[in-house]
Symmetry: C2
Subunit: 482 residues, 2 copies
Amino acid sequence: MTADRWVPEARLRGDLPVTDAASAAEHVPDDATMLVSGFGSVGYPKAVPLALAEADRDLALTVVSGGSVGSEIDTALVEAGAVARRYPYAGTPEARAAANEGRVATSDRHVSAVADEARFGHYGPPDVAVVEAVACGPDWLVPSGSLGQTPAFVEAADALVVEVNEALPRELALVHDVWTPADPPQREPVPLTDPGERIGSPRIPFDPAKLRAVVRTDRRDDAYEFRDPTPEVEAVAANLRAFLAGEVGRDPCPGRLRMQFGVGSLGNAMMAELGDLDAPVEYVGEVIQDGLLDMVDAGDLSVVSGTALALSREGQDRLFADLERYAEALVLRPAEVSNAPGVVSRMGVVAVNAAVEVDLYGHVNSTHVEGSRLLNGLGGSGDFWRNAALSVVAVPSTAGDGDISRVVPLATHVDHTEHDVDVLVTDHGVADLRGTSPRERAERILACAAPEFRDDLRAYLGRAGDEGHEPHDLPSAFDWRA
Amino acid sequence: MTADRWVPEARLRGDLPVTDAASAAEHVPDDATMLVSGFGSVGYPKAVPLALAEADRDLALTVVSGGSVGSEIDTALVEAGAVARRYPYAGTPEARAAANEGRVATSDRHVSAVADEARFGHYGPPDVAVVEAVACGPDWLVPSGSLGQTPAFVEAADALVVEVNEALPRELALVHDVWTPADPPQREPVPLTDPGERIGSPRIPFDPAKLRAVVRTDRRDDAYEFRDPTPEVEAVAANLRAFLAGEVGRDPCPGRLRMQFGVGSLGNAMMAELGDLDAPVEYVGEVIQDGLLDMVDAGDLSVVSGTALALSREGQDRLFADLERYAEALVLRPAEVSNAPGVVSRMGVVAVNAAVEVDLYGHVNSTHVEGSRLLNGLGGSGDFWRNAALSVVAVPSTAGDGDISRVVPLATHVDHTEHDVDVLVTDHGVADLRGTSPRERAERILACAAPEFRDDLRAYLGRAGDEGHEPHDLPSAFDWRA
């Protein structure tokens, strides 16, 4: 990995409009489209959103983030009634409730699409970007714990407010690799051929005329808390490991595995299973979680490429204490690079993500409970599953206390279609769906359901009968339990 | 456009194993995975498939094509009971019936994924490629009317049989631009920055040790027959034209439009509406239909990039009579280039495709009637809609004799999700869905339904109520007519 090893010598450089959060918040118009940094619940601005939440103003903001952000935005601002519209992800229970009750017009988007949609004005004219940094100069900033959509947001917005977080190390400059594409029709390929390569700069440039305010803060991110894996999650991880061990040495990447894992305790648990595979492993993903640091420490991982350091507080502290060493392997890219369809496609990634439910023909619901209620958001699951060399749905066969089957006859909401799923791994087995017809898929997927649901699923297939390429009995598709 | 302007001097060059079709067919093992050329119902082999259909053999072939092929394969071979498995498209009524009755294990795939899935063995070990050409040398061939997956198939297969079609002009060499990627992890970006650029060669190279037989033929393709547009289709086309006129000069491609249209009479009719838009238009698509030749003749189109000449017989004759002139604008690329996610994404394409049905939240069914019966196949609709700068579903609001609404509460099969659709155009209007929440989408889409179905759709939304981000009433989702 070649790198421009540069660390800013100071937090603030040049004649900057430093002010307090309340004054900075006045640069956000009442009905602004406000683009905020943040992805994987890290690197989002905190002081200005809190000041907006506390301001005595009649706000109707459109809030656009990179991905998931913390409670200062998705709880405090939402509960203050200051958010009218929200893209592309609702990361807290309060933001989800607002979406589900129709109080906030929320739209769930592919991570790879957000930068262009913001540039092209799909979310309204981009008025102001509010971003967290570890250092700021007259025409540049160094982002904090995530890159996400920040470079595109800074470029697109008419005005810029920067929060310089003094609780985070300036050495985060060592992990950023900022590269942004030109707009079509001048857009050229992302010039990335090796997942560890650096193609950009540690700094995000900006037009100094845009800079309205700089606020000094020391508030840390809401950190991830990983649950201990349940026995079901451990069984999924073990099945995944066994499957991958059989793939090593054949396609899609002879001699090496390039992995992506979705965010959460399941993904984190599965990373722990990869250490002793008989192949070099590279991480070519989106969020970077604690389990990857373990693998770097063990010498099992030479490349960790993503867009956000979605670490626990303990993981953050561990990273910060040894940033120079970790930065040898670790690189953060803008989400429009990490999740770019062309990049994921040519890297030959094995993409592993969880789901809400999977149907017998391989359609996947990632977002909506019973078709209606938004649970999380799509995130980058579509970017990776659609373009991966091998797309793996890894999920326990049941939800709740085991009384809900995640394998169903017909997904109540479809985020990923049968065309995008190669393998299903549950605690009960592995369904290799490559090259299968829908009827063949149904048999293999049924075998991965929890045993207590298999008779009902079998009965559904009986009612669906033998007519059609993908036989269904629509009247009982959603009411299939005996 | 720079080009390597080369036309083969002879049909056959060198010491080739020329033989008859029946003898050539013996090089296809009984249970072979047979990779055939052909896309958009042109450029597929004819003599060898017919010989296989007529052979007194117990065949159980896996047939993999680029896309749609003609009756010699998808009717004759299927009706002979010679096909056990079929990828990635069922292009004739007989092939669809076989898929729907479960006689042929069929799997519908994204066009952009087929080359890699064939290479990686998802369809079984690639035994033999049977491809149509206009000329063949000792280690190269010039394809006929489509490129499709042919370069990848020739590279992947253990053995090669070539049909040299003497009814087609050698000058088709002028339109081919063969470029194939390396496998991951060595894969680099497709080096295409302008849609008219040439990056490859007019010939497909092959290892001479693979060549088993060369067959001379003169049988033309089953040609497309375009229906005259109905008044509904004309209304869709007029609404699309009005919408696009409003987009010219803003995103996604200021000052120019890069268009893709799906195959069929609807797409062909819509092309006719583009001539007098106040912007340069380039075609950056998959299939090339007769309407595009009209635009080239009128001087309205300087670039026509695709993977197949899906022309009517009349259109083929017109093209062949003036190939040198048309080849100034026209270029055929391998489907893994024309449909590459990264290429479509960075070109800023406006992708216009039809659908079977669209639901109130923007999910699209492209393939299955009533969730079960395969109608056509996915083709490249997902490649273009997912990666386009602007994704347009253009479809008459009703099917049948107007007694079936194509706008429904919940799609019975989902091929494209709400995340991938920007605009719906019907004969009753335009629903601009960019930046909308699901509830907002439902209102706009409902307004594009046929008036006689709107009360029932409204009543459905009433039953769905006000709970959830995307409210549904699952018990009545598929039984929603009053």
